[in-house]
Amino acid sequence: MAGWITKGGNGAQTSIVDGKQHILLMPAWFVIGILLVIPVLVMLIYSFLTQDFRGGVIWEFTLEAYDQFFIDRGLFGDEPARIEWTYLGIFWRSFLQALFAMVFCFLIGFPTAYFIATRAPKSRSFWLFLITIPYWVNLLIRTVSMKFLIRDTGPLNNWLMSWGVIDDPISMINTNFAIQLGLFYSYLPFMVLPIYASIERYNFALSEAAADLYSNRWTTLFKVVIPAVKPGIIAGCILVFIPSLGAFLAPDLLGGAKNFMIGSLVEEQFKGQSGDWPFGAAVSMILLTIIMIILLFYARAQSRDNNGGH
């Protein structure tokens, strides 16, 4: 049915919308085109412009921003080129942070999803409701709450001290661990829900068949269940990894100044008058490219599964 155009036809129609699709879509095209597609293109252009130290940009094309990102020419710019590890390091660290957050979410999210999927139907929807409510609470509020909880003078430390478990407060805030916790906290429902959806469609008779063939429950889990719900797992991982990579709030509020991630790096370029816009644009473009590549792989894998797979 592909390739039809609905102009003309013979009088009879099966839908009130036929022939008008393009008109109906104009608002969406207009809004998203002008306010998202074009801005991204403009940002691409800006990444090739020159920084204006009074703020903003000078319209001179240069590779300065990308050069600054990848290449180290020393403090005064006259040393032989070496790889600039600072920013690559930030990217690498963010990558690791996002990866850990994803793994963290999986380790807790998978059993949770499995558990919910094996409840009675009424109980199931209630559990899902409970799991999703926190997502609807403002991310800022949630991150602030987490910050409040784990501060040196926060309730968690106070309780641990009052129960005699520790003598001095554990410095949990402003650490990588805190960022991990924050990311995990922000995106956990995104891991649980897709996995739940996959397990819900899983045919438990497969587990019974495996048991019948002398598999113990853990082998069944790894060799039968997990492969069967792989699409949900992958979806959940992507849904946690990608936002974590570009996250700003968790690193900023929970990680403090010392633990820069990509989000903070970008934000800094646009604060006040001293920001380096082209550089910020370049970093954003690099982040966008990485994420688009990941999504492309994911889409390819999806369509391969749909066409070639079982």
Binding site: G9, N10, G11, A12, Q13, T14
Partner: protein, 383 residues
């Protein structure tokens, strides 16, 4: 222009395009439906009957051909421009409107005046005996009630033709039978042409003035229920309506000794008489046929199970139109008894005996019997 047909289907073809495998849903179909007829499109799934109905209603494009409504070409009109209404298979009652609002919907869209809308809607509700349900919502009605509301809704705007797309298929047997009666009555009462689609041949036989039997996008035969049952044109129609025994035969020429034709053997319209020899052994039969066949041609003939006569084997030879066989099985069906026979030459035959008297007491399974096939009940089939 005395007798304008309600619907003329003129060389209608419907093709679903596809890069490699286009589907021909309707293949150059032409026929007419008269005013005030209860006309049924009958056939198995995929035969094109629903597609044709939807094309009359304006829900499918016509690839080639025309559809005329009382002489006017409606092929290019939108469905809301055709004075034709539909009773949908799933009823499609608007869930957020009451029964009254559903029935009044078409009239309101046509802009009829408020008083007329009121009287007409109430009249329709009376017709289907659901006046007291006027304020209910469809979800509060049973399947049979929804079906009646769907009917009233389609009749209210007084269409020239009413289309019914397998409206009874979702109802259970007793309800279906009751609704068949009601639909027939309403059609007679309103005088509107009904075009009815079904795959249930019993339904078609009981309700229709005429039936179009369809298969694979083509019309196999059009006729009254009796015509189609007694004189099917081909194997498909013979098998689709009721049960049929198909036998091979060879044409030996035109009818022999026509002078002996009695009144009961007067040929039906458009029928000729042939003389054939049945492969199973009976020779020299004069039978009816809708087509002329050359001498020597192999054809198929059919006979209905209830026309076969079975008698226990007796002495004597040369009985007319009789061959020998064995009883393979006997099934008691309440109103009649079904007997599977094995002819001496190996062919199978299905016979049906009405249980007026204990018809089977004279023979049992495994017995040899005499099987008589009356000439007048045999029909030659065109393929």
């Amino acid at each position: 222009m005395t007798d304008t047909h309600a619907i003329d289907i003129v060389s209608v073809t419907k093709v679903y395009p596809h890069r490699t495998d286009p589907v021909v849903a309707l293949d150059n179909i032409s026929f007419s439906i008269g005013d005030n007829e209860f006309f049924t499109l009958l056939g198995p799934s995929g035969c094109g009957k629903t597609t044709l109905l939807r094309m009359i209603g304006g829900f499918e494009d016509i690839t080639k051909g025309q559809i005329l409504l009382f002489g006017d070409d409606i092929s290019r009109l939108q469905s809301n421009q055709r004075p034709v209404n539909t009773v949908f298979q799933q009823y499609a009652l608007f869930p957020h409107l009451t029964v009254y609002e559903n029935v009044a919907f078409g009239l309101k869209r046509l802009g009829r005046d408020t008083d007329f809308i009121k009287t007409q809607t109430h009249a329709m509700l009376e017709l289907i005996r659901m006046a007291e349900f006027a304020e209910r919502k469809p979800s509060q009605l049973s399947g049979g009630q929804q079906q009646r509301v769907a009917l009233a809704r389609a009749l209210a705007p007084q269409p020239k033709v009413l289309l019914l797309d397998e409206p009874l298929s979702a109802l259970d047997l007793k309800l279906r039978q009751a609704m068949r009666e009601e639909l027939k009555e309403i059609q007679k009462h309103t005088g509107i042409t009904f075009i009815f689609v079904t795959h249930d041949q019993e339904e078609a036989l009981t309700m229709s003035d005429r039936i179009a039997v369809m298969s694979n996008g083509q019309v196999q035969q059009i006729g009254s229920p009796k015509e189609i049952y007694d004189n099917p044109t081909n194997i498909f129609v013979a098998n689709f309506i009721g049960e049929a025994n198909i036998l091979k035969a060879k044409v030996t020429g035109p009818e022999k000794s026509p002078a002996k034709a009695s009144k009961a053997q007067a040929a039906a319209k458009d029928q000729v008489k042939l003389c054939v020899d049945l492969e199973c052994g009976i020779k020299g039969l004069n039978i009816f046929s809708q087509s002329q066949f050359q001498k020597g041609k192999q054809i198929n003939v059919m006979i209905r199970p209830e026309r076969i006569q079975i008698k226990p084997l007796t002495r004597g030879r040369g009985k007319v139109n009789t061959i020998g066989g064995t009883v393979k099985s006997i099934s008691y069906l309440g109103t009649d008894t079904q007997v599977q026979l094995l002819l001496d030459d190996g062919e199978s035959l299905l016979a049906r005996l009405q249980n007026t008297i204990d018809a089977t007491s004279s023979f049992g399974v495994g017995n040899k019997v005499e099987i008589t096939i009356p000439e007048i009940a045999i029909r030659a089939l065109s393929e």
